[in-house]
């Protein structure tokens, strides 16, 4: 390890918190998705760091799965964004607060 594992965890948690903040605070649908991306990345950083800490490859393999998952998630969610935008002509989340099918 080039740095103490704690420092890496601190970096990852800062990134995660920034992503979480984006999800909670921003009202733009695109920005919320970007926040989700940031959080996923932060967890990827922890996995790679753990992989380097314990000298095992499993963490890196998990990151690959994480990336596959993210790309699937992004493709679906962006398709949903386009769909929602077509219905309401906006991507402000406050426009989607009524629960109708």
């Amino acid at each position: 390890m080039i740095v103490p594992f704690q420092h890496l965890l601190i970096l990852a948690s800062i990134l995660f918190l920034l992503g979480l903040m984006a999800v909670l605070v921003r009202r733009n649908l695109i920005m919320i998705l970007i926040g989700v991306e940031i959080m996923l990345n932060a967890s990827g950083l922890v996995l790679v760091g753990a992989s380097a800490f314990w000298q095992q490859l499993d963490g890196q393999v998990m990151v690959i799965f994480l990336m596959a998952l993210t790309s699937a998630e992004v493709s679906i969610s962006l398709a949903m964004v386009v769909y929602l935008n077509r219905r309401k002509k906006t991507i402000d989340v406050r426009a989607f607060d009524e629960l109708r099918g």
Partner: protein, 174 residues
Amino acid sequence: MATLLFYILGAVAVAATAMAVTRRNPVHAVIYLVNSFFALALIFYLLGAPMVAALEVIIYAGAIMVLFLFIIMMLELSPGEDADRQGPVPLQWLPVLLLGAAILGCTLLLLQLDPAAGQQLPRWYASPRDFGYTLFHEYALAVEIVSFQLLFAAVGAFYVGRAAGTKEPLGGER
């Protein structure tokens, strides 16, 4: 050396991410985020995961963010709408230039360090061969499951896109 690089890149990643989540304009956010992903990719490289670093650039910066950019452009979230509310022009883009320059400098440093990987860079280094071996031997089932997940995602995206294309939205019928 590598330790110092790690802290620089970590600072760059945090700064770029912070800029990204506070931008009003989604395209600017995407640019800062790409910066942050670069910094993260270099950190992965420093941590001995070159494959993950390359895939981070290819998949995150090259595909996912491009997809975001595509959707932002397609929905015509126009750039001019809040041009007046932002600060003076040089201040507005100085951060991205600084962050980009920092990342570029670190990259060049890393590229020149690479021939001496044995001495300078981490002792623990996952070569692509080891990586592929682990991935396809120990996690073969997981690979299959993930590939199915990707297939379902493709079908789902296609379905949502098709429903949006038809006259009557399918969501309205159910």
